[in-house]
């Protein structure tokens, strides 16, 4: 129950606004000091009341003594001049004195002062009786009697005054003791009040300091964090604040803002990184193309001159009626034109297949039709765009290192198929085959002669170049697979290009 209340209050405090907190921080010490002042005020007031009470009896005894004197004086005055005014004064004084006597205690108690009061009462009765007799004697002109009565009452008066004085003294003695005790108490109270005031003062200062510190600390941390952010350091960490006061709200919002900025920065960095990577790819691609182009230039000093020459040769052959020569030369010219034209661009699968056809034709002229070429093309993928000059170098490779030096019938099969994800461009020969090491070397780009483009009969584009361009083009590493069952068992190169309906790489 207590904990519940405590946590409830704690939550209330945490959710309070700064204004409320500051108000409480200043009001609390003020209220405490006020309470302290009230406490001192009540203390002093009580003391004063006590002092009043202490001397109350002295005051009333003094009054009694004065009233007694008034009785005696008025009696004397009447005896001297027998005036009705004096008589009136006497009766008045007599009544007043009787009233004063009535205030005295009439208890038969063991207290010394009560006993004295009793004595005064009894003596007063005797005195007033004697005074009355004196007046009566005077009125009755009984000189002798009033004289003796007056003497008697004089003695009684004097005794009474002594007794009142003694009682007053007794009270005063006790009261003086009380007064000194009271003074000591007052001094103690003064010291105690001072100590408590100082204690509360110091405590208030400490509370104020701690309170303001606890309230301003998050602000200071926030400002230093803001400074850090201003200098560009977003790696600032602010302790999350509970509660819903303004500082907490601002601090938590600031933390969120810095976090968001960090996320944005990260995203921008990543996109920039991707962009630069893309650019890098393009640059690599371009350099590879340039390389291919250079090879072409090295191989064919002037392709236009070569085309023109080949065209002239074709026309000559046509005029001479040599159709086969014409076709050969025409194919040659097309082959090289494709090489020159497409070197910087991508091509469709169909165009690549056509180039392979032309190449096989040319090679077969050279090898007198030794190479049996077959192809099986899935017509649904012929429109897919691929980097140019990817099939022909593989075919060329298959001829040069696969089937050129074999004794048996030479076959080269081109198959283009697809599944749900990939399009497979397969060139399979039945040549001398490849060892596993050789395959690995080709695939990792250390293919030696096979991978190297620098061969005598090459048109200039090596396998490494093909693989690299395919990787850049598709953005995948797994672009080529080479299968060979061993020496003399032929080799199959399979190019894998991602296929997505409607979207082509």
């Amino acid at each position: 129950m207590k904990n519940k209340l405590n946590s409830k209050l704690e939550t209330k405090w945490n959710n309070a606004s700064i204004r409320s907190k500051l108000l409480l921080a200043f009001l609390l010490p003020m209220v405490l000091i006020l309470i302290m002042n009230v406490y001192v005020y009540i203390g002093v007031n009580t003391m004063i009341t006590r002092i009043d009470e202490i001397y109350e009896m002295n005051v009333s005894l003094n009054e009694l003594s004065e009233e007694l004197t008034a009785v005696q004086t008025s009696m004397k005055e009447y005896l001297e001049n027998k005036s009705s005014v004096a008589l009136q004064d006497f009766y008045k004084a007599d009544q007043n004195y009787r009233n004063g006597i009535d205030k005295l205690g009439r208890n038969n108690t063991h207290d010394e002062r009560y006993i004295m009061e009793q004595n005064i009462i009894s003596q007063s009765e005797n005195y007033l009786k004697m005074a009355g007799e004196t007046i009566q004697a005077k009125r009755g002109r009984n000189v002798e009697k009033y004289k003796s009565c007056f003497e008697e009452s004089e003695i009684l008066y004097s005794d009474l005054q002594s007794c009142i004085y003694s009682l007053n003294n007794a009270h005063f003695k006790i009261n003086t003791d009380n007064y000194f005790k009271l003074l000591t108490t007052l001094r103690y109270m003064e010291i105690a009040s001072l100590v408590i005031l100082v204690f509360i003062g110091v405590f208030n200062i400490v509370i104020l300091y701690l309170l303001t510190k606890s309230m301003t600390k998050p602000l200071i941390e926030l400002s230093s964090a803001a400074n850090e952010v201003a200098t560009g350091n977003f790696e600032v960490e602010l302790e999350p604040l509970e509660g819903e006061d303004e500082i907490s709200v601002v601090s938590n919002a600031f933390t969120k803002m810095v976090d968001s900025i960090q996320v944005y920065i990260h995203e921008i960095r990543e996109s920039m990184h991707r962009e630069s990577e893309l650019k890098e790819h393009e640059l690599v691609m371009e350099s590879r193309m340039k390389e291919v182009e250079l090879r072409n230039l090295q191989a064919q000093i002037n392709p236009h001159f070569l085309f023109n020459t080949l065209n002239a040769g074709a026309q000559l052959a046509m005029m001479e009626g040599a159709d086969k020569t014409t076709e050969f030369i025409q194919n040659m010219a097309d082959f090289f034109r494709y090489n020159i034209k497409k070197i910087n661009m991508d091509a469709t699968v169909a165009e690549e297949v056509e180039l392979v056809d032309k190449y096989i034709y040319i090679i077969n002229v050279r090898f007198t039709g030794e190479i049996n070429y077959s192809k099986e093309v899935d017509e649904t993928v012929t429109h897919i765009r691929v980097p140019s000059m990817i099939l022909q170098p593989i075919v060329e490779n298959a001829i040069n290192y696969g089937v050129r030096n074999i004794d048996w019938e030479k076959h080269i099969d081109l198959r283009i198929t697809k599944d749900e994800e990939l399009v497979y461009l397969s060139i399979k020969d039945n040549g001398s085959g490849m060892s596993k090491e050789a395959i690995d070397k080709v695939l990792t780009g250390h293919g030696g002669e096979i991978a190297d483009s620098q061969t005598k009969d090459s048109n200039g584009v090596g396998l490494a170049n093909v693989i690299e361009r395919l990787q850049i083009f598709t953005g995948r590493q797994d672009v080529m697979e080479i299968r060979s069952e061993g020496e003399g068992k032929g080799t199959e190169f399979i190019i894998k290009i991602p296929y997505m309906e409607g979207v082509h790489v």
Binding site: L28, T46, Q123, L241
Partner: protein, 351 residues
């Protein structure tokens, strides 16, 4: 992770905890301060509490102030008895702030309509008249130690002078080898106010004792030295003057009250006249016992003050209730010699 979270929570709630601790501390301080104040105020400054128990009678005790020790002892004994009887005894000379004579006090007591008066003091005519006035006003009066025979007092409580003279004589006989003396000289310090008759009774009692017990020797020659007994100082002055003026001290000095005893003892020591005379004192207190132990005072007659005080109250009460009481109540006396004094001193030490 969880600890870190807890730490953070603790930090965020620091202000709250400061407030809570602050408020609790302040409340504590306020409560302590209030309690301290109440404690300090406690009894201070309050109207002095009074003894509110009711008494049935109010007696006044009047005594000479020349022999304070003796009369204080009687007064205390009377108060003890009065307490038991639910009677209040007022010593008017103490409660009156001004110095009154015994006659004045007597008059105030009568005018205060008290229920009884215990008087222990010098017997003179004025007092005798006042006793009569008091009795006429219905106030019982008992007289202690010195009887006032010519008054209408209800009772006399004490040792009568004849008896006292006999006790003194017996003491003298104990240490005087009568064969050595032709006629031993005896000086009796007696109150100035004491009547001639009372003095004679003592003298006769001494003489009778020796005649009866030692018929073959001369009875001592008793002389009275009247001492001004207004107060202790006048007593001391008179006794010192006596010692200065008297070359040949009497063989024996009899002191009839404790003040005379102490002053005589002091004078003998101060004037280096120990051994020149033999002192027989009256009453016991530490000084007198010490002096007996040293044998500067030979012995002392101790009147039973407890009995005297108690009897005075009982007699007055009896008179109040029945309208009469015994006119003479004898109080026992003890003689304290060196052995008894030592025993008493040892008892005191043990206590």
């Amino acid at each position: 992770m969880e600890e870190e979270k807890k730490e953070k929570k603790a930090y965020t709630n620091k202000a709250y905890h400061i407030i809570v601790v602050g408020v609790i501390s302040m409340v504590f301080v306020a409560v302590v301060a209030a309690l301290l104040f109440i404690f300090m105020m406690g009894d201070f400054g309050k109207k002095a509490e009074r003894d509110e128990s009711i008494y049935s009678s109010h007696y006044v005790f009047i005594s000479d102030d020349d022999d304070e020790d003796f009369w204080n002892s009687v007064y205390e004994a009377a108060c003890r008895e009065a307490d038991a009887q639910n009677i209040y005894i007022e010593k008017l000379s103490d409660s009156l702030g001004v110095r009154f004579s015994n006659e004045d006090i007597f008059r105030v007591a009568i005018n205060s309509s008290v229920d009884g008066i215990i008087y222990g003091g010098t017997a003179d005519e004025k007092i005798a008249t006042l006793i009569d006035d008091a009795v006429n006003a219905g106030i019982g009066v008992v007289v202690l130690q010195n009887d006032i025979e010519n008054s209408s007092r209800q009772s006399f409580i004490g040792v009568n002078n004849y008896e006292l003279g006999q006790v003194y004589a017996s003491q003298m006989a104990r240490f005087i080898d009568l064969s050595e003396y032709n006629t031993p000289t005896v000086k009796v310090f007696i109150n100035e106010q004491t009547s001639e008759g009372a003095a004679n009774v003592i003298s006769i009692a001494i003489e009778d004792y020796f005649t009866e017990n030692y018929p073959n020797y001369n009875a001592p020659e008793v002389e009275f030295e009247r001492v001004d007994s207004q107060d202790v100082f006048s007593v001391e002055e008179d006794i010192r003057t006596f010692f200065l003026d008297t070359k040949d001290l009497p063989d024996i000095i009899l002191c009839l009250n404790s003040a005379y005893t102490q002053c005589t003892y002091q004078a003998v020591v101060d004037y280096n006249r120990v051994g020149e005379t033999r002192i027989i004192g009256y009453f016991i207190n530490d000084t007198i016992l010490d002096a007996i132990d040293k044998q500067i005072i030979y012995s002392t007659i101790s009147v039973d003050t407890d009995q005297m005080g108690s009897s005075s109250v009982l007699s007055l009460k009896e008179y109040e209730e029945l309208g009469y009481t015994s006119s003479y109540v004898s109080v026992s006396t003890n003689v304290i010699g060196q052995d008894e004094a030592r025993e008493l001193l040892e008892d005191q030490d043990e206590e």
